[in-house]
Subunit: 312 residues, 2 copies
């Protein structure tokens, strides 16, 4: 047995795994005494879309992170798991994941939005705007949580990467029919999609999911930078929605507000001035938020018996 394993077993500090499971990938980190011992990435973990696959991704990410930490596989039974998953805001799914028969010593489950928020504020309460492939807002303040958006693509998720790319494709299709001008944006989307003719382009975009459209979001911002009016109006419309969403979050009086996700650097300069002023840098990623969450839950559990004795 390695010196590290012996040291961990003799330590009174618990060994944590922090898991951030989302629609495209799952991240896991092994954490002990303020040190990251290992990390790993696995496939998607959205139990709403595919329960079995979500569980498989959580397991794969964890076992790979243990390998990365040079810890033996059976260490999994000693882990205190903080798990944030998309979709578990639905009560039945929350219960289903809880009753999965996990291999951890203990598991604390919450939503991916919650751990993203706790991560951004290093364990404290606050609010986050998330703009990546999808978009939403989350606030945990004054003992209450609020979700704005998170309705999914294409009917929701305005101002997200998918929405920007989708709006760009709409313009290309209008221009193809002569119902809109073939601006810089239209040309850049057409060359991005690299289709030999209009019919091929129509076939290419048919039935595509959010990830496909999200790859084209940067083209909209680049065209807007070059002065393309159509691109600029799309950027303004998306930013206006996200500013409105942020205003809703600010009404909950959070201590901090951050914007996270792949689109954040591109979108932030277009948000309304009061939102830009309110933004604070995110301090840690969601998988750290999962660790903070597990620590807090564990501390609360350890306090409960004492409270009960005092009350009794």
């Amino acid at each position: 047995m390695s010196a590290m394993v012996t040291e961990l077993e003799n330590s009174r500090a618990p060994l944590f795994v922090g898991i951030d499971g989302g629609g495209t990938k799952t991240k896991a980190i092994i954490y002990h005494n303020d040190v990251i011992l290992g990390s790993a990435i696995a496939g998607p973990a959205n139990p709403y879309h595919d329960f079995e696959r979500a569980i498989h991704s959580v397991m794969t990410a964890t076992t790979k992170a243990l390998v990365d930490a040079q810890l033996p596989p059976q260490t999994i039974h000693s882990l205190i798991a903080g798990v944030g998953l998309a979709g578990v805001n639905i009560p039945e799914l929350f219960e289903q994941v809880l009753s999965w028969g996990h291999p951890f010593k203990q598991m604390f489950l919450t939503t991916d939005l919650h751990i993203a928020c706790i991560g951004a504020h290093q364990g404290k309460e606050g609010a986050v705007i998330i703009t990546g492939t999808g978009s939403c807002g989350y606030s945990s303040a004054q003992g209450q949580s609020l979700v704005v958006g998170a309705h999914g693509f294409p009917h929701g998720d305005k101002g997200s990467g998918a929405w920007f790319g989708f709006s760009a494709v709409e313009q290309v299709l209008l221009a193809m029919d002569g119902l809109a001008q073939p601006t810089v944006l239209v040309q850049s989307v057409k060359s991005h999609l690299d289709c030999k003719d209009d019919l091929a382009l129509v076939q290419r975009v048919n039935g595509q999911k959010s990830q496909f459209f999200a790859t084209m979001a940067p083209l909209v911002f680049e065209a807007a930078r070059q002065g393309d009016d159509v691109a600029l109006s799309i950027v303004k419309e998306g930013a206006e929605y996200i500013s409105g969403l942020a205003d809703k979050l600010l009404q909950t009086k959070p201590d901090r507000l951050s914007i996270i996700g792949g689109l954040a650097p591109l979108l932030s300069p277009f948000l309304s001035p009061n939102i830009q002023d309110a933004l604070a840098a995110p301090l840690a990623p969601p998988e750290f938020g999962a660790i903070y969450f597990a620590k807090q839950q564990l501390a609360q559990l350890q306090q409960q018996p004492i409270l009960t004795e005092q009350e009794a």
Copy 2:
């Protein structure tokens, strides 16, 4: 053998089947000497989405129509088929359907848009706006054909039933988050969807297809009629797109322009005045257009040998 079968066999007039295959259903009519002998409906026939199912639907509609016409099954080998199918504007799909090994005496294949147009103008050239679950424009004039739209939902098909219902759902989701006013439209969509709470509604609309959204299109028009500004702006936006599409069609100088599809009666009053003035009533449904098409193709084929002899 029945008197009718004997009569048909002795007749020199060919026996036709006209088939209109679309994304939701397939219609077939058996036609002889200007008389409809029988008709039937079968499942979807869009070979782009499901080739085997499309062929199966064409066969089912035909055999059911023969039964309805009180003709024996083997009559299928005597039929001259006019077939209009969605998706066969794609050259590979057109070839694939042509080489299917059909049981007809002869088969003439074209797009569903083409037979809809020929039907609306009783065999003559012209143009049609189609607004049902989807939307598009088609013109066959001056020896050239033009398709406007027909890009599919949700990235295309603006001004269609699906688009109106989708736009209504977007408003409901915004209102749920407090980012839009809960107008008449929002209330009517919520009661239409009949969900016990907001979460159930979000789950209900997730991943739905065009047909689901199209069922809610009438709610938008009804709310607009009641003076709901949000609904009215959706109606105006959709109608503006369809008017622009119709303008494109009018540029091809068609002899006639008609609007067809389930949404036509609701949408027509909102089209721009020049389009409303240009509209002529559709004269026959698409399955009749398929018969007209087959008759025209057959006549052309019968002329060809004579021309070839003259040339030789």
